[in-house]
């Protein structure tokens, strides 16, 4: 009998590929799996890390022409000890889980960049500065200023080396259970014009 080869559907071929026992040895299957896993994971992580660089953040004019210029004048950019905190140090969590969630949220920022253009001129950015700042302050408050604490901690702080005025305020803040962002707003960027300090009058 003449058997003509039956052409398999795409679904069938995929099912066979994933579920039909392979003719390869177990060692070969495991080795291929490990190498592919390494390549996939390494590539994914490297890509994600690349989006954490200063160069990546300022590759958009929305950041480069506004907040980046202000940040360059602050102590987090240039200081006597030569330690720099870049955008992601303050705005992207360090641990993998929180970082992944933040990166997924950043897709909304891409939508604003490429679709709505809500902050694509310095004027539009200024009109939104308060709203943007409030989002960041809220996030920092909710995480107990987690990203600040990647570098700053009560344990590593020596009050004796602080100015008396700062020492008093820090002690008071710690006693009242405050978190960094409660007092340290506008540290690396200009404060929004609508922002008011407590008890200005």
């Amino acid at each position: 009998m003449d058997e003509s080869p039956v052409k398999q559907s795409l679904v069938g071929r995929l099912r066979d590929f994933f579920f039909r026992p392979s003719s390869l040895s177990l060692i070969a299957v495991v080795a291929i799996g490990m190498v592919s896993g390494l390549v996939f994971w390494g590539g994914f992580n490297t890509g994600m890390e690349a989006t954490n660089s200063l160069a990546f953040c300022v590759s958009c004019h929305e950041m480069r022409d506004t907040v980046f210029q202000e940040y360059k004048e602050t102590i987090h950019y240039k200081n006597r000890s030569g330690v720099r905190a870049i955008c992601s140090d303050c705005h992207v969590p360090r641990d993998w889980g929180h970082k992944f969630v933040r990166k997924v949220q950043a897709s909304q920022e891409l939508y604003v960049k490429f679709v709505t253009g809500a902050i694509d001129t310095p004027e539009k950015f200024e009109s939104k500065r308060m709203e943007l700042a409030q989002h960041v302050w809220q996030t920092m408050k909710e995480s107990d200023s987690r990203e600040c604490r990647n570098c700053h901690s009560w344990e590593a702080m020596d009050p004796k080396k602080q100015h008396p005025r700062g020492r008093n305020k820090m002690a008071q803040g710690q006693k009242e259970g405050k978190t960094c962002i409660d007092c340290h707003k506008g540290v690396a960027h200009l404060l929004p014009k609508e922002f008011k300090e407590d008890e200005e009058e």
Partner: protein, 119 residues
């Protein structure tokens, strides 16, 4: 002819009035920008220790304005105070350097100083 003379007289009066007003009120030449002054004060963390009407760790600015009222060197003294890191005495008796205002723009600093003195 008569209309021409009338226009010239009106112009002379208007110019003279403007000149007199400018001479009488030198502040008018560089009007105060209170919003800009407040913004610089916030950015420089002044309100962490000062308020306008209320004494905090530092004196109320209305009190500062009262203290300097009528003194010809008020602007110079206050400018030095917020730009040089001069020593100040804190409530608990310790001494500390007064923080330096976060601007290198002389006009913006002058605006802040003049605004405080005007309170």
């Amino acid at each position: 002819m008569k209309a021409g003379l009338e226009i010239r007289r009106t112009t002379i009066i208007a110019v003279a009035t403007l000149a007199a007003a400018t001479m009488l009120n030198p502040l008018e030449a560089a009007a105060l920008d209170a919003d800009a002054a407040r913004a610089l004060a916030r950015q420089s963390n002044c309100f962490k220790c000062h308020a306008i009407d209320k004494k905090k760790d530092g004196p109320a600015w209305k009190e500062v304005a009262r203290k300097f009222k009528g003194k010809p060197d008020a602007e110079a003294k206050l400018t030095k105070h917020i730009t040089s890191g001069a020593k100040v005495k804190l409530e608990d008796g310790t001494e500390d350097e007064h923080p330096i205002v976060k601007s290198k723009d002389a006009a913006a600093i002058r605006n802040l100083v003049d605004w405080i003195l005007s309170l």
